[in-house]
């Protein structure tokens, strides 16, 4: 038993952070609010790091890395509030296409691996998803009906606005003729595994977002003075921030554990992903509240960067199953299906 990231994984996190620190500054995140498309330049930099190819097996030209490696990257994506569809493209769609073992997957997969295109996914009867308007490949993953992907024709999708202006949402207004590439049990399995990865990836981003918001608040509380001393010296402020820290400290290992179990295809992997999403959603929304409260009015201003992180948090905490939904999944498994500890 060894519960720690490897040296390679720590280095990976650092490499991604180094790139994002330069190319996903708060000013860049803010600029993404007034752009309808992602930054091709930034996506190319992520592709140089191999990010879109991480979960694609080597026989498909990918890097053949694990969900744990991917989660290490997504934590950094969250930390910098990167406004690019890493979760959708690299964590959800690329491994789904690879695992579909269909000839139709080869072309879009190759373009994703090459960093040429990004992707989006609609689960079951959903119509709105991140990156849908602008993605070159859209996957419809329906557990009971099948899995189909297509390149949206002009006018097939339209832009929707998120509270997080950097999160480009889209709606599918003209679905293609239903002609799934995968059906039956295989489709159900692909969909279930993609949903688990979606929840897990969002959880990893949330841990990064939460930590970044807590760091902002701690830095601010050290320098902002009231009553002649730093506000961070007041117990009421300390306790808000300490509680946020505890929640994040306990959420992060849950995310790493779920990633490792997913990569092992362990029996408790799906439950672990739900657990991770539940606790990361709560920890990040709690960190957002604490950070806002400790910033006071400055944190409530549009000029301050906090809201960029906070609004991403509000969106991701509910995306791919909010905390209550994920706890309900865990409840169904442990209370109704007897999947407790052995």
């Amino acid at each position: 038993m060894r519960f720690a990231l490897s040296d390679e994984q720590r280095l990976l996190a650092k490499s991604v952070a180094d790139v994002l620190r330069k190319h996903a500054t708060p000013a860049d995140v803010r600029a993404a609010w007034s752009s309808d498309v992602g930054s091709a330049e930034r996506w190319a930099q992520l592709a140089d790091l191999g990010v879109p190819a991480m979960l694609v097996p080597e026989q498909h030209g990918g890097l053949g890395l694990s969900e744990l490696d991917m989660v290490v990257v997504l934590e950094q994506v969250g930390r910098f509030a990167l406004p690019e569809p890493v979760l959708e493209t690299a964590m959800i769609v690329a491994p789904l296409l690879a695992a579909s073992s269909t000839p139709e997957a080869a072309a879009p997969l190759a373009r994703i691996v090459a960093g040429e295109i990004t992707a989006a996914v609609l689960f079951d009867d959903a119509r709105v998803a991140a990156n849908l308007h602008g993605a070159s490949v859209v996957v419809l993953a329906r557990a009971t009906e099948g899995v189909q992907w297509f390149e949206p024709a002009a006018g097939a999708t339209k832009a929707r606005r998120s509270v997080d202006g950097a999160r480009r949402l889209g709606e599918l207004c003209a679905p293609p003729t239903w002609a799934p590439m995968v059906t039956g049990d295989r489709a159900a399995e692909l969909t279930a595994r993609a949903r688990d990865r979606a929840a897990l990836g969002a959880a990893a981003e949330l841990v990064g977002l939460g930590r970044a918001m807590l760091d902002m608040a701690v830095d601010y509380a050290k320098v902002r003075e009231q009553f002649g001393k730093p506000i961070g010296s007041f117990q009421a402020v300390k306790h808000h921030l300490a509680s946020a820290h505890v929640a994040l400290e306990l959420a992060r290992p849950a995310v790493l554990y779920a990633a490792q179990r997913t990569s092992e295809r362990a029996a408790d992997a799906s439950r672990a992903c739900s657990l991770a999403k539940a606790v990361a959603s709560d920890a990040a929304t709690g960190a957002a509240r604490a950070s806002l409260q400790c910033h006071g009015a400055i944190g409530y201003s549009f000029e301050h960067d906090l809201h960029l992180w906070m609004k991403r948090t509000w969106a991701l905490a509910r995306a791919h199953g909010d905390a209550a939904t994920q706890r309900a999944r865990v409840a169904a498994l442990i209370l109704d299906h007897n999947e407790g500890r052995s």
Partner: protein, 387 residues
């Protein structure tokens, strides 16, 4: 990352499980926090010791079996899963012993640890005083040097000593330099409760058991050999002990994962009888189970950190805040499931949960209140200014 256990570890778990299945009493025992219950629990400690399970992570020569931290976690999981008796020896084995391993002399270890493992001596903590609770550095009990006698003379009062009315020894801090400021000038002593000048008075706890004691010291002579660490160095020694208490060794995840499984079983039995369960209570059951699992996973990381030489330090406060608050929520949820049955003191199942709830309520208070723990996290982990 490697979540697998070795064959040797799994064999250890199987051995512990088999022994516990064969030896754990079928009928629940009276609380170890009563005089009769304590005596019965001492016999259990002796059985554990005879089987080599009293202090599995200790070296063999002191009564342990050189188990690794991972094996210790496994033993704890199996122990609580089996519903084995309360550990009345825990404050010695899990709080004092780590301090002795770090600061004790060979003579002290040889003399004290084997008797501790065998429950020949059962230890109580003596931290708090009437005027010093969360503000531990405010203690006023004194120890005066008796150079001619090769020891010290202790005077003062300690309070909230768990099971102090039944234990054999206490450990705690006494002020050896009255002129020194607060946490300086303190020394860590071990005192047999049979020493002349010691008076022990049992105090009833919230649950009615005589689980607390006040201990009065009236010119009690203690030899130099019963000082741990240097004279006036007691604060640093004590911090090592409180680190153990807040951190890993006092409350292993096994205690909470077992309680969470019992909560799931309670849900099933109530639900299975056709009693409708409110969706919010069902959500709370899931939350409690999730939090216990989170603590289990978090501890795998902690154990790895400790093994790699990264000590817990102030991060042990994170631990303490989390397990103490999850324990309260878990037991509250059980009472919510029981509904009107929860108050029935003559219903064994309900009374067991209520007693567990009452005990859980102490968690955010003992070992340094959670308010103090949050100060520690804020100041020593997040780096916020002390004042």
């Amino acid at each position: 990352m490697d979540l697998a256990y070795t064959a040797a570890e799994e064999a250890f778990r199987a051995e512990a499980r088999a022994w516990l299945e064969a030896n754990v009493p079928r009928e629940p025992w009276p609380s170890g926090d009563t005089r009769e219950g304590f005596a019965l629990h001492r016999t259990w400690e002796k059985r554990l010791h005879a089987a080599g399970f009293a202090a599995v992570a200790w070296p063999k020569k002191y009564g342990g079996r050189d188990a690794s931290l991972v094996e210790w976690l496994m033993f704890e999981e199996e122990y609580y899963r089996a519903g084995a008796p309360q550990r009345i020896a825990q404050n010695g084995i899990f709080l004092l012993a780590p301090t002795l391993f770090e600061f004790g002399t060979d003579e002290q270890k040889d003399r004290l640890l084997p008797r501790m493992a065998a429950a020949d001596d059962v230890w109580a903590q003596a931290w708090s005083e009437p005027g010093a609770g969360s503000d531990l550095a405010g203690i006023r009990s004194r120890a005066t040097r008796d150079a001619a006698g090769g020891g010290f003379r202790l005077s003062g009062q300690k309070t909230w000593c768990t099971r102090g009315a039944f234990c054999d020894w206490v450990f705690g801090l006494f002020r050896t330099d009255p002129a020194a400021e607060r946490h300086k000038g303190l020394t860590y002593f071990m005192v047999p409760l049979s020493a002349p000048g010691v008076t022990v008075r049992g105090v009833g706890r919230l649950d009615g058991d005589e689980g607390f004691a006040e201990v009065f010291f009236d010119d009690v002579w203690v030899p130099d050999a019963d000082v741990i660490g240097g004279v006036h160095q007691g604060w640093d020694v004590a911090m090592a002990t409180t680190g153990s208490e807040r951190g890993l060794t006092l409350r292993s995840p096994g205690r909470f994962t077992a309680a969470a499984e019992r909560l799931v079983a309670l849900y099933r039995s109530i639900h299975g009888q056709g009693t409708p369960v409110d969706t919010r209570v069902r959500d709370a059951v899931a939350r409690a189970w999730i939090e216990a699992e989170q603590y289990r996973i978090f501890t795998l990381q902690t154990v790895t950190d400790v093994r790699d030489g990264r000590g817990l330090g102030a991060a042990s406060s994170v631990n303490k805040i989390f397990w103490s608050e999850l324990d309260v929520r878990l037991h509250e949820t059980a009472l919510d499931l029981l509904g009107e049955r929860a108050e029935l003191d003559d219903d064994a199942e309900a009374a067991g949960w209520m007693k567990g709830f009452e005990f859980a309520l102490a968690g955010p208070i003992y070992a340094g209140t959670n308010e103090i723990q949050r100060n520690i996290v804020a100041e020593r982990v997040l780096g916020l200014p002390r004042k």
